[in-house]
């Protein structure tokens, strides 16, 4: 398609740090400026961004299209719900730890099975396995609440309980918003290090050329497995953060169309960019929320956006913006 413009000198990946800090600062100020509903939407967007970042380690960096990432999101969410239901845990930090443990467990198992295959077989295998979890969550209602799902009350953040009387909206738009923001920043930094690490390079090499990767001595399957693990854990963390925001978890987030939405978000933002999934998740969240609010034909709207996107803007929002930026830059410098 498009080859990146030749860079004359090797640019440090650290150059984006000031930009990232600026964006983080804006995100930190937002709840004081915009109305509460917008803050909640952004919190949703940031949570999904973590999930899609994880997903994109597989698609964008390893070249594996998972159509079953709903599974890991759901595992994170249900892990939290089970901790509430059976262990009466209230601490958000414990929720995250539990979600990580649960998603490590499930991704280890699923990953072991799935990374033996690539391309469409990988996609279908991930899909089939996620559907197993969905059907269990759906049918074992005495454990999972079935379609009713499980409720998760307001958690304690860093050991601080929110009083009974305190306004939940205020909790969501301030306390929890910042909590999500901090976890989001941590996740972004971690993922950024991962993809810019020697390991990340190896994954990209495997994505580009599996055969050659083998012949520089990489154990391709092991690398894919680790990528799968990291990817699943990120998505699991997102699931854990999402539950208190949503208030409950239902089997809907394990059903395969939710996996489709995760793919949608990555492609919307541009899966060949680090920032693409983040942008895609936030934008998709707005798009879907407002589409559902304004028309019963929201599915068609999203479908048309998707089809046009893959036809006209295959590099997504960020990829296209970069192209335009580069184009403008060249025009300007002439």
């Amino acid at each position: 398609m498009t080859s990146a413009p030749p860079a004359s000198e090797k640019r440090s990946p650290l150059r984006i740090v000031p930009w990232a800090a600026a964006i983080a600062a804006v995100l930190a100020v937002l709840p004081w400026v915009i109305d509460p509903y917008q803050s909640i939407l952004i919190a949703y967007g940031l949570v999904m961004a973590i999930a899609v970042l994880g997903f994109n380690l597989l698609l964008g960096y390893t070249g594996l299209l998972s159509f079953g990432h709903s599974a890991y999101f759901g595992v994170g969410a249900y892990a939290v719900a089970f901790m509430v239901k059976y262990l009466h845990v209230q601490s958000m930090e414990l929720f995250i730890v539990g979600a990580i443990a649960a998603s490590v467990l499930v991704t280890t198992l699923f990953g072991y099975v799935c990374v033996r295959y690539t391309r469409i077989f990988f996609s279908i295998l991930t899909l089939a396995l996620s559907q197993v979890l969905w059907s269990l969550a759906f049918k074992f209602f005495w454990v999972t609440g079935g379609t009713d799902g499980l409720r998760v009350p307001t958690p304690k953040l860093i050991g601080v309980a929110t009083g009974e009387g305190e306004d939940k909206i205020r909790f969501l738009t301030h306390g929890y918003y910042y909590y999500v923001l901090v976890v989001f920043i941590v996740c972004v930094v971690v993922m950024w290090v991962v993809v810019h690490s020697p390991f990340g390079k190896a994954l990209q090499a495997i994505r580009d050329n599996e055969t050659r990767a083998r012949f520089v001595g990489l154990r391709v399957r092991a690398y894919r497995f680790v990528a799968f693990l990291i990817s699943g854990v990120f998505t699991g963390i997102a699931g854990a953060l999402w539950v208190p925001l949503n208030g409950l978890t239902t089997p809907d987030i394990l059903y395969w169309p939710f996996s489709g939405e995760i793919v949608f978000m990555a492609v919307l933002g541009g899966f060949r960019n680090f920032t693409g999934p983040i942008v895609g998740a936030v934008v998709f969240n707005y798009l879907k929320t407002y589409a559902v609010g304004y028309t019963v034909y929201w599915q068609a709207l999203l479908g048309i956006v998707l089809v046009v996107l893959v036809m006209v803007l295959p590099t997504g929002i960020v990829g296209t913006a970069r192209l335009l930026w580069a184009y403008a830059g060249r025009r300007f410098s002439r």
Binding site: Y117, I124, A128, L136, G260, L306
Partner: protein
Amino acid sequence: MDILVVHLFNALLYASVLFLIAGGLSLIYGVMRIVNLAHGNLFAVGAFTTASAVGVWFAGSTSALLFLLVPIGAVAAAAIGAVVEPTLLRRFYRRPEEYQLLVTFGLLMILEDVMRFLWGPYPISASVLFEKMGSLHVGDYIYPRYNLLVIATGVLAALFLWAFIYRTKFGVVLRATSQDMRRASALGVNVNLVYVEAFTIGCFMAGLGGAIIAPSQPAVLGMGVDALVLSFIVVVIGGLGSLEGALVGALIVGVIREIGISVFPEIELAVLYLIAAGVLFVRPAGLFGRTA
């Protein structure tokens, strides 16, 4: 004892419809190497079209006319296929899978709302045919005659497809294109024509699946998504791209579902997906697929 016969018929009934959907999905994958996520909704289009033709537009006509109208759903689905393949999907055959899956996922969402727009939110039923045919005795039980017609349709479709693919010139061309598109093209095959024909046939099958069940089950929104995942199980078990596989896969799923609902209802769905995952794990190309 008689009840076993009823169970068996039920399993065959389910398998017949699943074969029609999954067979189409598999055929399309076999020729074009594209997994069409919108396929489930072509099944739904078939059901809605037939349901409204029989139950609304021509309601009150003679039964003979109504029976003749049943295949109209298949024709509608085929027509959509014939339009969508050359205008939309063709651009994606050489693009990576993520784009193929996404464009058909988008199509799935669009079709869902097109149906909502055309047919409204309510279920539509063409049950008059189902009722008119009545039931026959199976020992102590009775069984709807119409369901036997559905089973017969499934069997006929399988036979017809087999003859078509292995006994006609077009079948040869189709198989050649499926095995090596470039070589077929070099040998003078009009590959684009083969593609649009194969896609249309695949959609026709899905539409026929929907059309044939419309009299016994109402057409409802959302039926496509559910049908798609089940036919996915079928093609995964049987092997993507293999019609024999779709047939065997449909039978397996039909039988397991029937047993599952009676014997292990809690894990009926999980068992189906686990079988699919297990087959994929052991033989990623499925029981009948060519190795990838």
